[in-house]
């Protein structure tokens, strides 16, 4: 890509943020004006110095000195007011833009399908929502404003220098010009290294996260030292990159500080020579020196303002990477409504493959046909990794079928709004996600209007009575910021949550795996009453769970290969016996020695 198209691209990328800044834009532009005015005031001060210096003789009166000083004072105060004005104009709208973008991103992320979240680690999303957006805010209310104002100031400032002496102005310009080339070159190289260091520190954060979440494994194998060494090596790599960055910065600093000084030194010499020839007054020279000082900061700042702009561009890019993502699983244009669901759930020739699955791989689900009558409960059986969990996720459109259809009471689930569909179908997942809220809120999540009785009933069915004994009973806060619960306890609460939703259709993914045998038996007894009235699809690994269901569907190679009662299948289907029965290959129960 040539420099030019890259620049056009970057401006176009940055411009995409405009629709979100509509309200803020007028104030940002006014802010630019204020910034420019402040710079102009600063630039005009040396002119009064010239008048003052040139006018001073032994006969000068107090008034003759006071007038220019008052001018200098007035202009200085006005400059400070302009800076205050710029900040006041620009800062608050900037934070509104940031908050607006943050909400937009969050809403979009909640709307994107689970498949998207499978691909994107939450850390990547978080850094977009935090660092990237605050960078955009700073760029809008600071970088952009000053880039424009300082750019114009440099051009006008050069004009002012010319006005004192065209020769000095030219000398200054010629010596300082390479600074911009150096600046541009620096930006290009620095950008790459900065990105590298961002990635490396992201990797370090991942190592930290894994070393903490996997602490039990590391302890059990005594691999703390091993993983620490690896971490130290990675950290040393980051150090190296950071030092490369520092080296680049130090070179830039060298140029940034030495070049203007060289320009000033040469100008001084030439200036004195000009004075001797009568082409410049002492006041002119003083004003010239002073003006270069005023221009010092705008010139210095161009480098980091450009780098900020490039960073902002990356941030905008990263923001739109998420925002441009198609929703994939969307609500229909004209949604149907189902007042009361009977609970007939039908899978018709359902195919499914993950979008990123290699071509050579067959569909994970290749033609599932399954019909659940209202009130019927069906257990889903198959070897690990055969797609049982995926099938359950299709019913609530957490994933979308690749082809075929799923119908509830004869209505294709794609014809319903997602919110409505999910109010009819409640799920309990194998790994139970609870939110940082009270037990009560967690259990009633799917049915906030439920009565106190419903709540107690759901807890009783899931054998989650332990909740009453927590420090603050059902109002105890749980989750990352609250009390930590054991795996079995979490699973029972998640089950209670699904039950409390009182759905027409219940989808349970191996909901009892973390329970001990006795508790499992109690939960099963209680669940039976619920399942009498509810359509249910239950992923099961154990015969005991299978027995909750009226009938069993056996999954194999992406299809349902057998469907019937547990006892029938056990008698007739060899693969079924293989999957569910603890009978050994020889047909013997694995006996105790």
């Amino acid at each position: 890509m040539s420099e030019k198209t890259a620049k056009a691209g970057s401006i176009r990328t940055l411009a995409r943020i405009l629709p979100y800044t509509k309200k803020a834009l007028p104030r940002i532009i006014l802010g630019m004006v204020a910034a420019l005015a402040a710079h102009m005031l600063a630039l005009s001060i040396p002119n009064f110095l010239r008048g003052l210096v040139d006018g001073i003789t032994s006969k000068t009166t107090f008034d003759q000195i006071l007038t220019p000083v008052l001018w200098v004072l007035g202009l200085g105060v006005l400059e400070a007011l302009m800076v205050l004005g710029r900040r006041w104009l620009v800062l608050t709208p900037g934070t509104h833009v940031e908050a607006n973008l943050r909400r937009t991103l969050y809403a979009k992320l909640q709307n994107l399908p689970v498949a998207f979240h499978d691909r994107w680690p939450s850390g990547q999303l978080l850094s977009r929502s935090t660092q990237d957006l605050s960078l955009i805010r700073r760029w809008l209310s600071f970088g952009l404003v000053l880039l424009v104002a300082n750019g114009i100031t440099i051009v006008i400032g050069l004009g002012v220098l010319y006005s004192y002496s065209w020769i000095l102005g030219t000398i200054f310009l010629v010596i300082v010009a390479p600074l911009w080339i150096i600046g541009f070159r620096f930006e290009k190289d620095y950008h790459i290294t900065a990105r590298k260091s961002q990635d490396q520190s992201g990797d370090l954060a991942t190592s930290v996260e894994q070393s903490v979440h996997g602490i039990r494994v590391l302890k059990a194998f005594g691999r703390g030292g091993f993983i620490t060494e690896k971490f130290a090596r990675d950290a040393a790599e980051l150090r190296k990159t950071e030092l490369t960055k520092a080296r680049m910065v130090s070179v830039l600093w060298w140029y940034l500080s030495v070049i203007p000084e060289l320009a000033l030194g040469v100008s001084l010499f030439v200036g004195v020579w000009l004075m001797q020839n009568g082409q410049l007054t002492i006041g002119g020279l003083v004003a010239f020196i002073f003006t270069t000082r005023v221009l010092h900061w705008p010139m210095d700042s161009i480098g980091f303002l450009l780098s900020m702009t490039i960073d902002a561009q990356t941030a905008v890019e990263r923001f739109f990477e998420v925002l441009d993502e198609p929703i994939g699983i969307d609500d229909p244009n004209k949604a149907l409504k189902v007042e009361k669901l009977e609970g007939r759930l039908v899978f018709e020739d359902v195919h499914f493959r993950y979008q990123d699955a290699p071509e050579s791989e067959p569909d994970l689900l290749s033609g599932i046909n399954l019909e659940l009558q209202p009130g019927e409960s069906v257990a889903l059986i198959g070897v690990t990794g055969c797609g049982k969990t995926t099938l359950t996720a299709l019913a609530t459109r957490l994933y979308e079928v690749t082809s075929g259809s799923i119908k509830v009471d004869g209505v294709d689930i794609r014809e319903l709004n997602r919110i409505e569909l999910r109010s009819h179908i409640a799920m309990a997942f194998e790994d139970a996600t609870l939110f940082s809220a009270s037990i009560r809120e967690n259990v009633l999540l799917g049915n906030p209007d439920a009565s106190e009785e419903d709540l107690h009933e759901a807890l009783a069915i899931a054998q989650a009575q332990f909740a009453y004994d927590l420090p603050e009973g059902l109002d105890t806060k749980i989750g990352e910021e609250g009390l930590s619960l054991s795996g079995g306890q979490r699973q029972r609460l998640a089950l209670a949550r699904a039950v409390a939703a009182k759905p027409a259709i219940l989808v349970l993914d191996d909901p009892l795996s973390a329970l001990d045998v006795d508790t499992e038996a109690m939960v099963e007894d209680a669940l039976r009453t619920v399942l009498k009235a509810t359509t249910a699809l239950i992923v099961a690994h154990r015969p005991s769970t299978v027995q909750l269901a009226d009938r069993v569907a056996l999954m194999q190679d992406g299809k349902i290969t057998a469907f019937g009662k547990h006892s029938e299948l056990l008698a007739t289907n060899e693969h079924y016996r293989f999957v569910i029965s603890s009978l050994d290959a020889a047909g013997e129960l694995i006996e105790v020695k």
Binding site: L49, V53, I65, V69, V72, V77, V83, L84, R87, L91, T92, A99, R103, Y106, Q110, V114, L126, T130, Q210, V212, G214, I215, R216, V217, K219, A220, G222, R223, G224, G225, F226, F231, A246, S250, V251, W253, S257, V258, E261, F269, V272, I289, V383, T384, F429, T433, F435, S436, L445, E480, G488, D510, S513, V517, A521, H541, Q547, V579, I590, V592
Partner: protein, 602 residues
């Protein structure tokens, strides 16, 4: 209230002694990271002193030498002085820039060394801290110590530190230059210190308060965000989107409001500095101009004074900002030093015994265990497990099975009594020594990012591909692994979501297999396996456990079939202890459980 370690670290208002204790320990930490680099710090200080002194004297050179001396001489036709001074100026400029540039590089090296030191030290220490600590402190906080808090220190070192020192020195040297050049002008600057002092104090007081508020507000936004994204399935399944959006929107607004407030403080402080600077410069100009008219002051000196005064206040903003980043780095440092102060409740021996080749004989000798909150889990008991024996531990949730297992793998130490391996108290063995002999596999089959092969090799770093494959074969994981897109080289992170819970567990079994320990503990390690996989594992276990000691905890009694001996636990006590056959034949609890289990099978 004790402030030792991580206790009460969330507390905002501290008493005097508490503040003292916390400050002392964070200063100790600071001292310990600075000590190794202290010589270089002096060098870097010398560099920046030199650079700033030069910078300030260059202005002095322009004012007094070039304008006041060389200029009049040149106007009279003698350019020697001008040549001399301008060249001196150029050389000085080059030297000062070179020093600054060198300082940037040198300081970065020091900062990075400090960070590397702190980073690895904290990482190593958290790895050493016991599981009990991790369970109570929660993963979120451990991670935030190692990311956010370290970042705040790095920020201080990177930008704050360098610029603050450079800025401070610049101000000092400018003041000195001004005194030398014209004491009267310096007197005027001194007067300006009065409003400067009040402005800065106002700024610091307000930012400090609001700064803390922003950190709290932003943490809330982050926590809510992460919780939504990691629990997105449940969010969608239970239609939490709308209520989430409302709550998140409020949190975002809270953060915005307090953040805007902090930014606005800068928005007043910065123009305030400019205002003070401009007024002071005007007064200097007025007084100086009058004295020039009287012939008491030269033009160049006046120019020098005005230049000094107008750049004198520039570093103030950096200084004020430094104070903020110092605040946040300091609170990070306080928390980090708290974590580092935590002692592992399971300590390394000072004079370790050496157990060269463990046989696997385990003894519990009058062992009693209670959690640090005093809750007794295991009342005093004695138990002897001969080398090579396979033990099944059964009982309801909370009976103390896992605790017993964790005592053997020394996740905890007993309150009273001894746990011995081949006659050695576990507390006498080094961690490395113990872990070579004892390995535990839990229900939670955590996979680290990297390939499947890497994850298996964690059990034996440096294992060959052949060893890895045969371990996978032994536990029945080989088939599904070869079916993955890249076989053993498949990155578990990229497709980690798609490796089912059962498959994870098989990988973690292979990990244990390759470690080849004398004592193997399986804590609910087969819970997520489906029956065919469990069957494969069972077959594998028969050979795997033949010549080693094993403790197996399982809800499902199928595992008991391969045990030599069954221990039934209830409320922390072992209530039955015999061979499985005898227990089944008897009338005890195990006999009943076994019957119920058999009935449930078909």
């Amino acid at each position: 209230m004790s402030m030792h370690g991580v206790q009460n670290e969330e507390k905002i208002e501290l008493s005097k002694e508490e503040t003292k204790a916390v400050r002392a320990r964070s200063m100790r930490l600071l001292g310990s990271v600075i000590r190794p680099v202290r010589n270089r710090l002096w060098v870097s200080l010398a560099l920046v002193v030199g650079a700033q002194a030069l910078r300030v004297s260059l202005t002095w050179l322009i004012a007094t030498k070039i304008i006041d001396e060389a200029l009049p001489q040149a106007l009279k036709g003698s350019f020697d002085m001008l040549w001399f001074t301008v060249i001196a100026y150029l050389l000085g400029a080059i030297a000062s820039s070179a020093l600054i540039s060198f300082f940037v590089r040198f300081a970065a090296r020091i900062n990075q060394d400090i960070m590397l030191n702190l980073r690895t030290r904290l990482f190593r220490h958290t790895q050493k801290l016991s599981v009990e600590f991790h369970e109570t402190y929660t993963s979120g906080r451990v991670i935030s110590r190692q990311t956010n808090d370290l970042d705040s220190i790095m920020e201080l070192l990177n930008s704050g530190g360098n610029e603050m020192i450079a800025g401070l020195l610049y101000m000092i040297f400018t003041a000195i230059g001004l005194i030398l050049l014209d004491p009267t002008s310096f007197g005027i600057v001194l007067v300006s210190f009065v409003p400067l002092f009040f402005l800065t104090r106002w700024f610091q007081k307000n930012t400090r308060l609001n700064y803390r508020k922003t950190r709290v507000a932003s943490a809330k936004v982050i926590v809510h965000f992460v919780e939504t994204m990691t629990g997105i399935r449940a969010v969608k399944a239970f239609r939490k989107e709308n209520s989430n959006e409302v709550k998140y929107s409020d949190l975002v607004e809270d953060y915005r409001a307090v953040n805007a407030k902090v930014i606005q403080l800068f928005g007043i402080f910065d123009p305030g500095l400019i205002l003070i600077g401009r007024i002071t410069a005007a007064v200097v100009l007025l007084v100086g101009g009058l004295r020039v008219a009287d012939g008491d002051l030269k033009i160049g000196a006046l120019l020098g004074c005005v230049l000094y005064v107008s750049s004198f206040y520039d570093p103030m903003e950096q200084l004020a900002m430094f104070y903020n980043s110092f605040q946040s780095a300091n609170s990070g440092l306080e928390k980090i030093s708290g974590v580092l102060e935590e002692k592992p409740s399971v300590e390394e021996p000072t004079n370790p015994a050496v157990l060269a080749e463990a046989k696997g004989h385990i003894e519990f000798d009058k062992v009693r265990f209670a959690y640090s909150n005093g809750k007794e889990v295991l009342p005093e008991f004695t138990l002897d497990i001969p080398a090579g024996q396979t033990i099944a531990l059964v009982g309801t949730t909370g009976a103390g099975k896992s605790t017993l297992a964790k005592l053997v793998s020394r996740f905890y130490d007993p309150i009273d009594g001894q746990v011995r391996l081949d006659g050695y108290d576990l507390r006498l063995l080094t961690d490395e020594n113990l872990r070579r002999a004892v390995v535990m596999v839990t229900q939670e089959a955590y996979l680290f990012s990297g390939s499947v092969a890497d994850n298996i090799a964690l059990g034996k770093p440096g294992a060959s591909a052949l060893e890895i494959e045969s371990a996978a074969r032994a536990v029945g994981a080989h088939d599904f692994i070869t079916a993955l897109p890249d076989g053993y080289d498949t990155d578990v992170n990229k497709r980690g979501g798609r490796v089912s819970a059962g498959q994870r567990q098989l990988i973690s079994f292979a990990r244990a297999f390759i470690a080849d320990p004398a004592v193997l503990i399986l804590d609910e390690a087969t819970a997520s396996l489906d029956i065919p996989s469990e069957r494969l594992v069972q077959h594998g276990l028969k050979t795997l456990l033949a010549d080693r000691t094993a403790i197996i905890i399982a809800h499902r009694l199928s595992t008991v079939s391969i045990a030599d001996r069954v221990l039934v636990m209830e409320h922390g006590r072992i209530i039955e202890d015999d061979s499985p056959a005898k227990l089944i034949a008897g009338t005890g609890k195990f006999s009943k459980m076994h019957k119920a289990w058999r009935d449930s099978l078909v």
